[in-house]
């Protein structure tokens, strides 16, 4: 079957009745039979699973057809808290469904892996989004069985959750043959703060603040995704200037984080020079952001209805100066990176992710684009103001550490260009409108936003009183952590920190 003859998501949606009150993507309610048909369909069609979550007794999944950017949310009312698992046609669903089981007690049938995922047995309540029954947590986390790897001469290395450096907690279990890694399994959930449970019942303002704290380095992306979801649910149309200022902040966040990452990857192979200079450039971006938007990370600056702070002319000039200063200095660093053989020998060929895996898991961001997946939520499905801007999405095929660094380098250049374009074309006008009030009926919104790591998905349902009935946040790291496990296979243990840094997945965004 060729790509052209595959049925598109649009055709599929056209044949199914769409529910009202869900925007901007259609929501289709399925029954068990049609849900099973969807599972079979996913097995043959290249639709990307964007997320899977629950709302009450309903399980929802978001899918995207990359060919035309059509996306939809498909839902199924579960019978007896059980639903057929999507994991057989989309392995990325395994961890999502394990998390669903931990949070709500709803079980995916025929899920191969039913171990606890986010819940380590230390929460004071069981199934916080389900029964939320209080329980007496034990003094120690529940035991966890790691996947076995058997053979003569194999040994295990447990690493974390407490690490020697100041990073987030996560446990990595290596099974090694000498230095060669036979299997890596990561275990997460240590930074679970119950953000989705806190969201339930919160008003929109509090919800925006919570979303901005899901993963601190992506606070603009999360704020933007949440704001867009609220605006979709309520039918609020933010003023044009707000869209452009949001893009400006998002690009500044991307530049700052990519600069930090490029330096940090080099620092992991003891090349402190890149780290120091990238750190200086990152600091300049953060200072400019602090001066222009009143917060270095621009936290809580993107709000539902617009942005919380306007950019004055002086701020615009400052940002233009920043771009002009940054560009030649960044170029020198790129030349240093490219021209240091000892550095290149570490980066090239380390931690390769195969393009099939990236497609299968729907991994976004630099992880996907470094392994041939041409996907960027800014253009596909796309949101304002990016269709009006000149933007090329860099894509490489190699999938190794070097490719992930190169994607970041190319994206920094693109984002610098975008910052200039945005400031030059910034429309005048107000920057914020009040969020439209909701009436009775269904008010659900969904948004997909490209953060520096990849696509952030936010889905929410508002109650008639305007508070949040349910809000689900899906970090891009959900689909990147499993690929890290695949990337390290066959590499040596000593190269893991380098691979890990080149992925730079979020712990807190994933654990929520």
């Amino acid at each position: 079957m060729t790509a052209a003859s595959l049925p598109s998501l649009k055709d599929y949606l056209g044949r199914n009745r769409q529910m009202d009150g869900h925007a901007p993507w259609p929501r289709v309610s399925l029954v068990t039979d049609t849900w099973m048909a969807l599972i079979n369909r996913l097995a043959t069609l290249p639709w990307v699973l964007l997320g899977e979550w629950t709302d009450g007794d309903t399980v929802l999944a978001a899918v995207l057809d990359e060919t035309d950017g059509a996306a939809a949310v498909l839902s199924l009312v579960t019978q007896g808290n059980r639903f057929p698992s999507l994991s057989h046609s989309r392995p990325a669903a395994i961890r999502l469904e394990r998390a669903i089981a931990d949070l709500t007690g709803m079980a995916a049938e025929t899920l191969v892996d039913t171990r606890l995922w986010l819940d380590h047995g230390t929460w004071p309540v069981a199934q916080p989004l389900g029964t939320a029954a209080p329980r007496q947590p034990g003094p120690l986390p529940l035991p966890y069985t790691f996947l076995p790897a058997e053979g003569e001469g194999l040994h295990q290395i447990p690493v974390g959750p407490v690490h020697a450096g100041i990073i987030e907690p996560g446990h990595f279990r290596f099974t090694c043959f000498g230095e060669a890694v036979v299997r890596l399994e990561d275990r997460l959930g240590y930074t679970h703060r119950g953000i989705e449970a806190l969201m339930t019942g919160a008003d929109i303002e509090r919800g925006a603040r919570l979303a901005g704290r899901a993963s601190g380095d992506s606070t603009v992306a999360y704020g933007l995704a949440f704001a867009r979801a609220v605006e979709a649910a309520t039918g609020t149309v933010p003023p044009p200037r707000a869209h452009w200022l949001r893009a400006l902040m998002a690009e500044l966040e991307r530049i700052a984080n990519h600069l930090g990452d490029i330096g940090a990857v080099c620092n992991d192979v003891a090349f402190g020079l890149m780290h120091a200079h990238c750190g200086v450039l990152r600091e300049r971006v953060l200072q400019a952001a602090g001066a222009c938007f009143g917060h270095r990370l621009m936290m809580d600056r993107v709000v539902p209805g617009g942005v919380a702070i306007d950019l004055d002319d002086a701020g615009g000039r400052r940002l233009l100066t920043l771009v002009r200063d940054l560009r030649p200095r960044f170029q020198e660093l790129v030349e240093l990176y490219d021209g240091t053989p000892s550095l290149q020998s570490r980066m090239l060929g380390s931690g390769t992710v195969r393009p099939e895996l990236v497609r299968q898991w729907g991994a976004g961001g630099f992880v996907g684009r470094a392994a041939g997946r041409n996907f960027d939520a800014r253009l596909n499905p796309g949101y304002e103001p990016y269709p009006q801007l000149e933007l090329t999405v860099p894509v490489l095929e190699e999938g190794d550490v070097n490719a992930r660094v190169m994607i970041r380098i190319l994206e920094v250049r693109e984002s610098l260009r975008l910052v200039e374009q945005v400031i030059r074309q910034l429309p005048a006008g107000p920057v914020r409108v009040p969020v439209a009030a909701v009436a009775d009926g269904r008010h659900e919104g969904v948004a997909l936003v490209e953060g520096f790591r990849g696509d952030v998905l936010v889905w929410l349902r508002l109650r008639p009183d305007g508070t949040i009935g349910r809000c689900h946040l899906r970090d891009p790291s959900w689909f990147q952590w499993p690929l890290l496990e695949a990337a390290i296979e066959g590499n040596i243990v000593a190269d893991f920190p380098l691979c890990n840094k080149s992925f730079n997945c979020s712990y807190s965004g994933h654990d929520l």
Partner: protein, 318 residues
């Protein structure tokens, strides 16, 4: 009377290396920080760190054996004695006649042996990784080191460092290819033995990439202080050896007067500091190599040593 003077001079040398070692580490860190556009801590920070560690309680794993407890003392003692055998400010000190360069290599091997056993003793995964890597590096570094030692010994007709330095200072050696090769080889061995970039990164926080640091992860308090001081001494030892063989000028000859001794005492820390600065420069300009590339690196050092020795014969026969 003379024996007391000899002992005093030797005692001074032992204290000198002990006093200079943390300063050397401080200088390397400071220069590195400046090259990375940071201000960096004071060059005296390592002394403060050592005092802080010495005051702290020792935490020992439940399953640690006596080996774990005695290792810091053995490592420190062996390396200190070895460092005392390398001429620093004066030649012909009394100890230097009692042991030659092969004993120095042996003392370092002894220290490493105990360090490796202690790394395995507690049974943590990192200790095991660090030890296995350290042993891999050591098994390649030692032959290379001995090859270089042979070259120098053949040249000076002695395995005594004092005699080698004396030969270098007094005889017109000129620019010998063998010397150049031996110098390069010794520098490479020194980098590997001391766990510096590009072989190991002493400043890393990444457990999985560590070599030396992984072996000593379980140590704390005064034990850690001793091991840190021993590492500093080892770096000082290697730099002293490089300086004494290849830049011996300024060292007081055997039975020299007080003025020559004074010149030696002033020049020695300056030379060591310059060596430390050069090390910092090197560490800033290269990235760490893959663990298994260290094999090639040290094989290259061995080849250099071998070539140096061979060329010596060739040049003699002409």
């Amino acid at each position: 009377m003379a024996i007391i003077q000899y002992l005093l001079l030797q005692g001074f040398q032992m204290l000198l290396v002990l006093a200079v070692a943390p300063l050397l580490i401080g200088i390397v860190r400071r220069v590195k920080a400046r090259l990375l556009r940071r201000i960096g801590p004071s060059v005296f920070q390592p002394y403060r760190d050592l005092i802080r560690l010495a005051r702290k309680d020792v935490v020992v794993a439940h399953n640690a054996s006596w080996l774990f407890l005695v290792t810091p003392y053995i490592v420190f003692a062996a390396i200190w004695v070895a460092a005392a055998l390398v001429p620093t400010y004066a030649l012909g000190l009394i100890f230097s006649w009692s042991a030659d360069i092969i004993v120095i290599v042996g003392l370092l091997a002894l220290a490493r042996f105990f360090q490796a056993l202690a790394g395995l003793d507690v049974g943590t995964a990192f200790g095991g990784i660090g030890t296995s890597r350290e042993m891999m590096i050591a098994s390649l570094a030692e032959p290379a080191m001995l090859m270089i030692v042979f070259t120098l010994s053949l040249l000076a007709q002695s395995t005594q460092l004092s005699s080698i330095a004396h030969y270098m200072m007094t005889v017109q050696v000129g620019l010998r290819v063998s010397c150049g090769l031996a110098l390069m080889g010794l520098v490479m061995v020194a980098i590997a033995e001391n766990g510096r970039v590009p072989v190991d990164n002493p400043a890393t926080h990444l457990e999985l990439t560590m070599v030396h640091e992984a072996m000593i992860l379980e140590y704390s308090g005064r034990h850690l202080a001793l091991i840190e001081l021993a590492s500093a001494l080892k770096l000082t030892l290697y730099l002293s050896m490089l300086v004494c063989v290849f830049v011996p000028w300024g060292m007081a000859l055997t039975d020299a007067g007080p003025l020559a001794l004074l010149v030696g005492v002033v020049l020695y820390p300056a030379k060591i500091a310059a060596g430390g600065a050069a090390l910092a420069l090197l560490e800033v300009t290269v990235a760490k190599m893959r663990v298994f590339r260290v094999v090639d690196f040290l094989n290259f050092a061995l080849m250099l040593g071998l070539l140096a020795a061979l060329l010596l014969f060739v040049s003699r026969s002409i």
